[in-house]
């Protein structure tokens, strides 16, 4: 992964000093609440229901074991002994003290971490494919581009006070695992007919109150133009994005209002001034960053490991876990391992301090000391030898991270919801647990197969409910919590926004409703069809009819 130069290090240390000074001025009454609000948000500090929440950036989901140990240390000494992995690959602490945040940031800086631009109306952490660099279906490793964007967007003088937050995602594989098309800017790394690397550029996607799949505004952007083109998009947005209404301030509203064609034309006009200017990427810079993401020193294996194969043949539970939670690696003899953070009864994405330390140990022992976070709120050890898998599986079982449910109904994406978040209309974690308990039978769960179920506690949609095959949204009706269900969303390359089934349901009915939906699927599926395929074929009506049918 990328290692900081002295200059990269200096900028985060100076940021700590700046933020410490801002905090001191606030505590001394020299900054008003409103003034400090904008400053603290730019550094990931929210004031939540019970306490402040501090969001730490995990650039494109890459972490090393030293960083994981530091997160464990911070959660132990400044929080209540756990950290939360968010749907944007970041880490959140739910219980830090405002006065202690500068001290936390100082500690983070010692392991090349920070909270810069993890909130506020600025360019946020760029997210990506958790299998970047190791996936078999990859066109190009996205991580160097993400890091290039990170540096460019860090304290960009022109784009630090935008109309609203701004999120960029990059995907470089045939399967989009980064929900790219529901970001403010989505980039697909592609090759043109001449074999040159560049980007398909999507602008104006997003979830929230107005969910939109981003339109394509540039078919092929050569890689050297990446930053000047992003700069042109941001300038059009900074200038023309709405600032009169928070709910209409995202770039998606601007793109929609102008139409994608007119928006693209405006960007091209702006780009004409910037193109080939000093911010054009030299090949040497792309190479410098790329060099940080070279393959680790893989051993050469002729093919599959024999003991690995025999464990699969002799141990059905191991086989199920391998099939579900591990993924083919580009290098023979290796596998990509998912750690499920979705054990029933565990808040999705939460990891305790001691578990973090164990994960760091596993990363050092089995996967070149690196860990990745995913937008589905799981963790990945990307480079594990097949011969180590059985031992690793046993260790993960002890830790509670071996639930073989990756990509299944109980692998729920879920925001912290009303239990923590001041914005939420309703709880979400207890809803996830209710559903997980209903579908605890592993044979049944595996029979249902691939299914994305996402839960958000309010229409800000941090739990990505719009793009779940099944989406659940918490709503408030006269002080009571209700849940709206939608079907047919997708966050992949076939991105789609789900359709609302109908009137919302009471909290205690949710598991029943989901079960009815699953029954309709199982009754209608054709052999090999995933839930989403069946939904697309038979559409909403049969599901709707079943969930609202009178009991019989």
């Amino acid at each position: 992964m990328y290692l900081y130069t002295e200059k990269d290090q200096k900028i985060i240390e100076q940021r700590v000093a700046q933020y410490q000074n801002q905090t001191e001025r606030y505590l001394a009454g020299k900054l008003s609440d409103d003034e400090f609000l904008v400053l603290r948000l730019q550094n990931g500090l929210y004031i939540q229901r019970h306490a402040p929440m501090l969001r730490i950036a995990v650039p494109h989901g890459m972490l090393n074991s030293k960083q994981i140990r530091m997160l464990a240390h911070i959660s132990r000494h400044f929080d209540k002994g756990y950290a939360h992995f968010s749907t944007r690959q970041n880490v959140q602490f739910n219980w830090p003290k405002l006065e202690q945040v500068p001290e936390i940031l100082k500690l983070l800086a010692t392991v090349q971490m920070h909270a810069i631009q993890t909130s506020g109306s600025c360019i946020r952490n760029t997210t990506s494919d958790q299998y970047a660099g190791v996936a078999v279906d990859e066109v190009a490793d996205t991580r160097p581009y993400c890091e290039i964007i990170r540096q460019w967007s860090t304290f960009h003088p022109e784009f630090t006070l935008l109309p609203r937050k701004f999120k960029i995602a990059v995907s470089g594989a045939l399967t989009d695992r980064a929900a790219t098309q529901v970001h403010d800017i989505g980039l697909y790394v592609v090759k043109n007919a001449q074999g040159e690397t560049g980007f398909q550029v999507f602008v104006g996607g997003g979830l929230g109150r107005t969910p939109i799949v981003a339109p394509l505004i540039k078919e092929f952007l050569p890689e050297k133009h990446l930053l000047t083109y992003l700069e042109a998009i941001l300038r059009v947005y900074n200038r023309h994005g709405r600032r009169d209404n928070k709910y209409k301030a995202r770039i998606k509203i601007l793109v929609k209002a102008l139409t994608p064609d007119v928006f693209a034309k405006k960007v091209d006009d702006e780009w004409a001034d910037l193109r080939d200017g000093p911010t054009t990427l030299p090949e040497a810079e792309i190479e410098r960053i790329r060099a940080c993401y070279q393959d680790p020193e893989y051993l050469t294996f002729p093919g599959d490991n024999e003991s690995f194969i025999s464990h699969i043949e002799s141990n059905p539970s191991f086989k199920i876990w391998v099939n579900r939670n591990t993924v083919q690696h580009k290098t023979p003899g290796y596998r990509i391992i998912n750690l499920s953070l979705k054990e029933t009864g565990q808040a999705p994405g939460d990891v305790s301090d001691t578990a973090l330390e164990s994960i760091a140990d596993l990363a050092d022992r089995f996967s070149f000391g690196e860990v990745r976070s995913t937008h589905e709120q799981n963790l990945v050890l990307a480079d594990v030898q097949q011969s180590d898998l059985f031992e690793l599986w046993n260790k993960l079982k002890t830790l509670g991270f071996a639930t073989p449910n990756i990509g299944l109904l109980t692998d729920i994406i879920c925001c912290p919801g009303g239990d923590f978040c001041a914005l939420a209309n309703a709880k979400s974690i207890p809803i996830a647990e209710q559903i997980q308990r209903r579908f605890e039978d592993m044979d049944y769960l595996h029979d249902i197969g691939d299914l994305d179920l996402n839960i958000s506690g309010c229409m800000n949609a941090c739990g990505h409910h719009h793009v779940g095959h099944i989406g659940i949204l918490g709503v408030d009706k006269k002080g009571q919590e209700f849940y709206q269900v939608s079907l047919g969303g997708s966050a992949n390359e076939d991105a789609a926004i789900g359709k609302i089934v109908g009137p919302s349901f009471k909290e205690e009915d949710i598991a029943n409703v989901i079960e009815k939906i699953i029954h309709v699927y199982l009754e209608n599926r054709i052999e090999g069809e995933r839930f989403i395929d069946t939904y697309r074929r038979i559409e909403l009506a049969p599901f709707k009819e079943r969930v609202y049918a009178k009991n019989h």
Partner: protein, 166 residues
Amino acid sequence: MQKIIKNRQIIDSSWNYVQPDSLTQEKLQFPDGDIVVSVSDWHSFRDLCLAHPGKLGLILQSDEEPSCVQNDLEHFEMIAIHFPAFGDGRGYSSARELRTKYKYEGEIRATGDVLRDQLQLMERCGFNAFEVRKDRDLVEAMAGFSDFSFTYQADLSNPLPSFRRN
């Protein structure tokens, strides 16, 4: 006279702002000395502005783009860009466009909700004068210029991005 920061020095400002819409065809009277006019006054009373004996400046509101005066820039010794709230970042693009697209070399001044924590960003976008909000200490605010000794992007302080510098 108001104290401001210009080119990182605390100085007295000589400029008088002409209240927008205070001029009518019946009563065409500017204050004495150096004046700053709004875009609409400039467009309505161009000849009168040019005939004024003092220096001439222009103030752009956050929703007014430099392109609306792009052919007139030679007439202004100073362009003020107003920040109705410090979180309204449109003025950064205005300053940058004035410097890089229109090659404006006169004074660019930040007015309105101008605070210490934005000074370095503003300077990097091409502002060189700052009317810091009146309730804030100018000497303390000056520290805001040196929060960062290294930055990544090409800007008005560093014409080359970090990857092209030696």
